[in-house]
Symmetry: C2
Subunit: 386 residues, 2 copies
Amino acid sequence: MQTASSEVVRHINRRIVLNLIRTRQPISRADLARASGMQRSTISLIVEELVNEHWVLEGPTGRPPRGRRPTFLRLNDDRVIIGVDIRPTQITVALADVNCKFTSQTVMATPSDPEVAVKSIIQHIQAIVRSCEKKKIEGIGITLPGRFHQDSNRLIFAPNLKWRDIDLRNPIAKATGLEVELENAASACVLATVWFNRLEACRNLVVVTVSEGIGTGILMNGQLARGLNNMAGEFGHVPLDPEGPLCTCGSRGCWEVFASNRAALRYYLESSRHGDGLGFQDLLSLADQGDTRAVKALDTMAHYLGRGMRMIVAGLAPERIIVIGDLTRSWHRFGPVIEAEVRAQVLPGGGVPVVVPEHEDGMARLRGTVALVLQKHFGTGATLAS
Amino acid sequence: MQTASSEVVRHINRRIVLNLIRTRQPISRADLARASGMQRSTISLIVEELVNEHWVLEGPTGRPPRGRRPTFLRLNDDRVIIGVDIRPTQITVALADVNCKFTSQTVMATPSDPEVAVKSIIQHIQAIVRSCEKKKIEGIGITLPGRFHQDSNRLIFAPNLKWRDIDLRNPIAKATGLEVELENAASACVLATVWFNRLEACRNLVVVTVSEGIGTGILMNGQLARGLNNMAGEFGHVPLDPEGPLCTCGSRGCWEVFASNRAALRYYLESSRHGDGLGFQDLLSLADQGDTRAVKALDTMAHYLGRGMRMIVAGLAPERIIVIGDLTRSWHRFGPVIEAEVRAQVLPGGGVPVVVPEHEDGMARLRGTVALVLQKHFGTGATLAS
DNA sequence: TCCATTTAGTACGAGAGTCGAACGAGATAT
DNA sequence: ATATCTCGTTCGACTCTCGTACTAAATGGA
């Protein structure tokens, strides 16, 4: 039972102010009042609180045509966040400030033994902690290609990462004394998009990450959809063909078996004798060089990507679908095929969702870790626009 | 930009109190204080307001073992709601009080001309309005097997109802002077479930309505998922087989082509010479009488129902899936098949959603209309539990 | 019968918050 | 110098909850 008292009012308004400063900095108190609709006096009180808590700094003054000069406010970038992006092949540990500017970034190969990985991650984090003694570390955000159980903190589903049933949060939290937030990679990309891509107004969007597998992150009514045991978004494991090839999840014919990077490689190998140690990037290059079999393989992958997205278009009717993965480099190849499928799914009268590729994959996840940690203070990013 | 002031606090707490009275009536002020965590004094003030506005009535006193007798509070059932349930074959116009007790109900055949239908609905409503002069009518809630566009109020997608592009809200609102709320039938069932089935704690559920077509209503994080143009929930029109039979939506091989009542009849007709004018209910009866072809047809339908639900299980991970439709009468036939498919979809570590049939279909929609109208004052039903 | 005990509901002052008007600060234009 | 304009602060009014004190009403025992 969540009853409200006066402090709740302050909490709500404080979030609004903090988010306005974040998204429009540098900004003056007067402008905050105009943007939010609150009184200048109220804004002053809230800003005073934020300055005292070192969330906000007073900056230089503006130069208006007439009248007293406004004092600009901006976020204090001495508050930093440690982000960890875990992938099947590599782990990135990075440091960013509240404005999501990354100041350091280290990459390591992913150990096959999760215990070793945890130890290694802790060492990297501790090195970062030592390097920024004068700053306030807000917390650690971790994204991973899988799901974990909220209560037990155990990794429960990460077929493309071979780890199983391990607790990532507690060991890292204990070793560093910092708060640790974990999130599925696709969901983290959703957060990153809403927070840092000026998409506050978009309250229904889906991120589709395509690599070894396919993940989807769902934003609905401005909130992340988590579902039972944090498992919402596994459209990648819906069977398109129950008789299809085996999937890493144990089932058959899942969407990701037909539409992931791995699938394209399989299509290529099926149609061609050579190309055994090939990677997906190589396949993209081959297609660009005019290898018709590579083109065909990618086309098939694109077709299936679009076909799977029909579930998302029909079932969730998002305003926007964001595609992340290596394939975005050859969007001229994938975009038209996917968009045709999506348009075919739009029912009479329905709106057509915008399908956009989001390049620079790595940063999307890392930016997600920052949002993940800051969420506690700023809200879901989309909430503020409501 | 939704800033908060003191009144917001009252608004929130008032909703909590109103919902507690609704769900636990009769209840005393002291019990409200205990249940909500607010002070008795605060509760008294809020209750005074609610009594003044005729939302709440003071009832008889309780008989505790010791101490002063509590005065019980209950909702004022002189506040009534008019509910309209539009279906392809029939339209029901009903009157209910705030406790969702229905006091009258009239059924009419659905006219093929939507203009005629609107006129007819208005007449029925006006008859009801005349019949309850001493009561306060809160509004009109309408559910329909389709979608409408929020801004233009036009019906944009209702393949099983033959109407197209008509404005239902404004004519009825103008003729009656009452507020009109429209909602898709499956979404209305979601509201009804959360409001009246003691499922306040369930924040992620999906309702699947099976009749001529298949509709789904989605509750996520305690909120109805609406999506772009109110189209979220059309899983029924995702193609399971792009080469399959034509669907009313214009596409091919949609889920509902394989798993609706109509699909079962088609399976039966394909396997049997006779049975031309058969309805779905007849098919259920034939199966009960031991007609193996009918059993087979229903089994196929059940299989496909389960297969389509895999999209929902994987993509949304709901805690609960509620199935509504004539098929619930023969749940012993459908339940096991559907549940097997659903369990097959649950990924390692994921939770198993509860699949339950909800009988008495008609009432689910009508109860939804009541929730629809009262939402404005009580909130989403699930919100209060948060 | 009277009084202690217990529970329900109310009264009232304190505290937190926002609003809005008035005021002071600082800059420009006349 | 003075008028004007804008930014930021101060202060009293208003709203709302909390917590304590108080009143109301019932039971049970002396």
